[in-house]
């Protein structure tokens, strides 16, 4: 029982780090609310390293994900004959008050919670965020992964493998 409580506290800390990290990444890009893509960036920052290793398992460089987010915006604007977004957007101050996210992040959190119910006792790893986010077919995160040439099913599989490996340790 004590072990379960300790794991629960660790998971709560991981979740807090993900939420704050995602918001910081969004704010740094000049956005007030975090989307699923910012949660992937936050997952890549987690000390467990599982999100980063999920990318590396399929030969992708996780450090390129941020640039891929910018690239998919640039490609989208180019498709209608416009230039790209501001290269270094003015960061926005962090929001005080109730935590708000974009719909894509809300969906991701709901799917993480659902996974927690179907896999009780399984610790929360950064790779969980990647596994869930890789399941989305549309949206900024999905487009950024495609911009990196990543096949989402392959990334989801790699994330599952990292979760299994982390549990065994």
């Amino acid at each position: 029982m004590f072990q379960k409580l300790r794991q629960r506290l660790r998971d709560m800390r991981t979740l807090k780090d993900l939420c704050l990290g995602a918001e910081q990444h969004a704010n740094a890009e000049g956005q007030q609310m975090a989307g699923a893509e910012h949660f992937i960036l936050a997952a890549l920052d987690l000390p467990d390293g599982t999100a980063r290793r999920a990318f590396e398992r399929i030969g992708a460089d996780p450090r390129q994900f941020r640039a891929a987010i910018a690239r998919q915006y640039g490609e989208a604007l180019s498709s209608i004959g416009l230039g790209s977004l501001q290269q270094d957007p003015e960061p926005v101050p962090s929001h005080t008050g109730v935590y708000h996210t974009k719909a894509s992040a809300q969906t991701l959190m709901q799917q993480l919670a659902a996974r927690g119910r179907t896999h009780p006792g399984e610790p929360l790893f950064g790779a969980h965020v990647v596994a869930v986010a890789a399941g989305a077919q549309q949206g900024v995160a999905a487009r950024a992964l495609r911009a990196m040439g990543i096949e989402s099913a392959a990334l989801a599989g790699a994330a599952q493998a990292e979760i299994a490996s982390a549990i065994k340790r």
């Binding site: 490609e75 989208a76 604007l77 977004l85």
Partner: protein, 74 residues
């Protein structure tokens, strides 16, 4: 105005919707810069709101926190 010929084909809604999302982000960036500059030049929040076509309350509530603290006051 955007030339209709430059719009993505209706056969490619993925690209068109991606452009919509990017345009919204671009509009937000432009709005923040323009409002910060306007306030810096001495515009009132009423004037900013009129230029944006929204109420003064809506403009201040949405934008004041996004620009530098010394620019938020009227």
């Amino acid at each position: 105005m955007l030339d209709r010929r430059s719009l993505p084909s209706p056969d490619d809604p993925e690209q068109a919707l991606a452009a919509v999302v990017a345009l919204r982000l671009l509009a937000d960036q432009l709005e923040r810069k323009a409002v910060a500059e306007a306030i810096d030049q001495g515009w009132s929040w009423s004037q900013v709101a009129d230029a944006l076509g929204v109420s003064k309350q809506a403009a201040h509530k949405r934008l004041a926190a996004l620009i530098q603290p010394n620019q938020r006051e009227e």
